[in-house]
Amino acid sequence: RRASSCRRRAGSSMPEAMEIETPAKKAEEEKPPPDPAAFYRADCKLMASAVERFVAVREARFATAALRLMAVLRGAGRSSPAVTGPVLAAFVSASFSPSHPLRERLLAALPPPAVEAEPVAANSKSPEGAGEPKKRPLLPEMELLLEILVLQSLIDGGKVAESLPLADTVLERIGGWNRRTLDPFAERAYFYASFAYEKAGRIESIRSRLLAAQRTAGLHHYSACQATLLNLLLRSYQSAKLFVQADKLLAKSTFPETASNAQLARFLYYNGRIKALQLEYSEAHRCLLQAQRKAPQTSTKAVGFKLAAYKLGAIVQLLLGEIPERAIFRASNTRAAMKPYQQLVQAVRLGDLAAFRDAMTEHAATFTADGNATLVMRLRQNVIRAGLRNISLAYARIRLTDAAQKLSLDHPDDMESIAAKAIRDGVIDASIDHVSGVLISTGAHDTYSTLEPQAAFHKRIVFCLNLHNDAVKAMTYPPDAHKGELPDADAIKERQREEQELAEALAEEDEF
């Protein structure tokens, strides 16, 4: 680890380079300003060493370091593809041996490799400039990472059609290996392969392969892959609107508990959407609330996901009869996107059918684009109920025709049966006089004489008790606290020696 952190300062702070100070210093003075190509190359080498450490030691932090470096490389590739493309090609041609089946295909997908004419090479005494000291065999993990990098450069460069065959090959290669250390990298490979197909608009063609991969990942206990694959499958079912199949998939598979928060957030979102379509609104609300909490909380990250979760969450809350919080609609970066939904919330809160109709016609395109159109249409009933509730609270007696006018119903003669249904469902507390066509509200009675306070208290008590139990379960001792009490190996040996001497002394005494 220390060697790699030293190597980060590319150039002259190597202990070997210190021997030849004058030429090294001169080379550094003549060195051009920081070269993105050099940084890219250095990052590639760092990534390779991190992967090797991971395979050797199996500690998760090396895998996360390697993946983080891959993200950095992708970012560099996106911002300056002309510079990084040749460097990547050079690295690929250096890492893959000439007999490797994929070498030619990968090199064909990239711009021609850079010639290794960097300033460090001029300093011929430094071992860095002498090229790779020895050809290390290419680990499958490293190969997978390089293939993913090439795939990403194709997708980001807009060459989606060419990325599809590469994606197919990557999936086949993963299927050929059976290594535990492949799990974190294979997960990224599946994601980008599915992403390539989605960009090409052909997400159905990859579905059966993802299903097979999910079964295999379950058998091999690749928990990261299981989580990602389940999310990718749910996403592909949702885009094709095959909610029955998605529901069946959910019923048959389990989401692994050790998955990262990002995957868990996605899973909860898809789960919430499926439940909302099946009219299970409270379950959907719970899932979406958790998804909103599991998403990264900083306001600049994952804005698109949070917007989708908040939009769906707002609609589900409206369908449940609650009004969503105002904070999301006010925040500066989400305000414009949430405007159509804000109009919906206001229409439902006031019970204004005319405003609801206007919002629907004005923003129909937005709702369809978000995939929420059918759910929004179900809100009509809630608007009518809210309006009816307001009327019943405000008037002791009101003619049904007047009530219909206030609600601006399309067909005022439905008012009587709508009111009757609302009374039966417990939305309002009233009775109807059919002969005179009047709605008579029974006044609000003392709530404390009913069982409602008890129910409200019960909910809060159960929540607090659950919170307490969870906190107790989550308590752990600090990791090294027990070591102070346990004797270490030397003390144990010391004690055993003393006991042995004592036993011998006792035996000698006995002999006497």
Partner: protein
């Protein structure tokens, strides 16, 4: 086997014509028998799902077209003979044709009526979650514009809102007056029960004639049967509902006991 295939297609096409004519004449027994024969003939077709070729030749296209026609008419026959499981099976098979073969075959004129009938069936059987899932599968613009699909969607909205009189009037005038009669009857029965329940809660007393028109019952005798079935009282011109007077609020004793015991147990655990 190409000439054999052509022959079997010709034979099946001829049988289909006979079937259609007997169906038009409402000879249900012969229709059902011919349908069975047609299905046996379809067994010899080689390009039916799931083995649909990506680019079918003209004879394979004919096979697919014939099979789709057979299934569509089979669905219509099963409605006439009130065989609802058979209708469900036919629709399930037809859905494959409508989704996967949409690009290979010309549009069928019976597609939307049949899909609408399926929606109506789900609504009548009170399977609302499946109804909504089916509705999701339709492209959004189609749902608002197509007459056959708009009808069940609007019915569902009326039922959710509670404008039941619209549902009852739709039975006479609706788009499906001919084929959907069975489903509409089922729906009307469900709706009638709903109206009765709502009326019990909403009205203290109501005139017999008004209630009869609200429930759309043909005569007073039917109303009497209905009322005695739900234990309403009819005295003179008015109907009063059984649940009058406030019952004293019953204390849900066992629930409260359970809750209190749970609190005690949890509190004891706190060290």
């Amino acid at each position: 086997s190409a000439p054999e295939m052509a022959e079997s297609i010709q034979a099946a096409a001829a049988l289909l014509e006979q079937f259609k004519s007997s169906f038009a004449k409402e000879e249900l027994d012969t229709s059902v028998k011919q349908l069975a024969q047609l299905k046996i003939a379809m067994l010899s077709f080689s390009s039916l799902p799931p083995a649909i070729p990506a680019v079918p030749s003209s004879s394979q296209q004919q096979e697919l077209l014939l099979a789709r026609d057979v299934l569509e008419h089979g669905a219509l026959v099963s409605i006439k003979t009130v065989d609802i499981p058979a209708f469900e099976r036919h629709i399930a098979q037809l859905k494959v044709y409508y989704t996967h073969c949409a690009s290979l075959l010309p549009e069928s004129p019976r597609r939307y009526p049949l899909l609408g009938l399926n929606l109506l069936r789900l609504l009548a059987q009170n399977r609302i979650a499946e109804f909504h899932t089916e509705l999701e599968l339709l492209p959004p613009g189609l749902q608002a514009s197509n007459e056959f699909l708009k009808f069940p969607a609007q019915l569902e909205q009326h039922i959710m809102e509670g404008s039941y009189n619209r549902v009852l009037s739709a039975k006479q005038t609706g788009t499906y007056a001919a084929e959907g009669l069975y489903f509409m009857d089922m729906l009307v029965d469900t709706v009638r029960d709903e109206i009765a329940e709502c009326s019990e809660k909403a009205y203290k007393a109501i005139a017999v004639s008004d209630l009869q028109s609200m429930l759309m019952l043909g005569s007073e005798a039917e109303l009497n049967d209905f009322a005695s079935g739900r234990s309403w009282r009819i005295d003179g011109a008015n109907v009063t509902f059984g649940t009058d007077g406030d019952k004293p609020l019953a204390l849900p004793a066992s629930q409260l006991i359970h809750e209190s015991l749970a609190y005690a147990k949890e509190l004891e655990r706190i060290v």
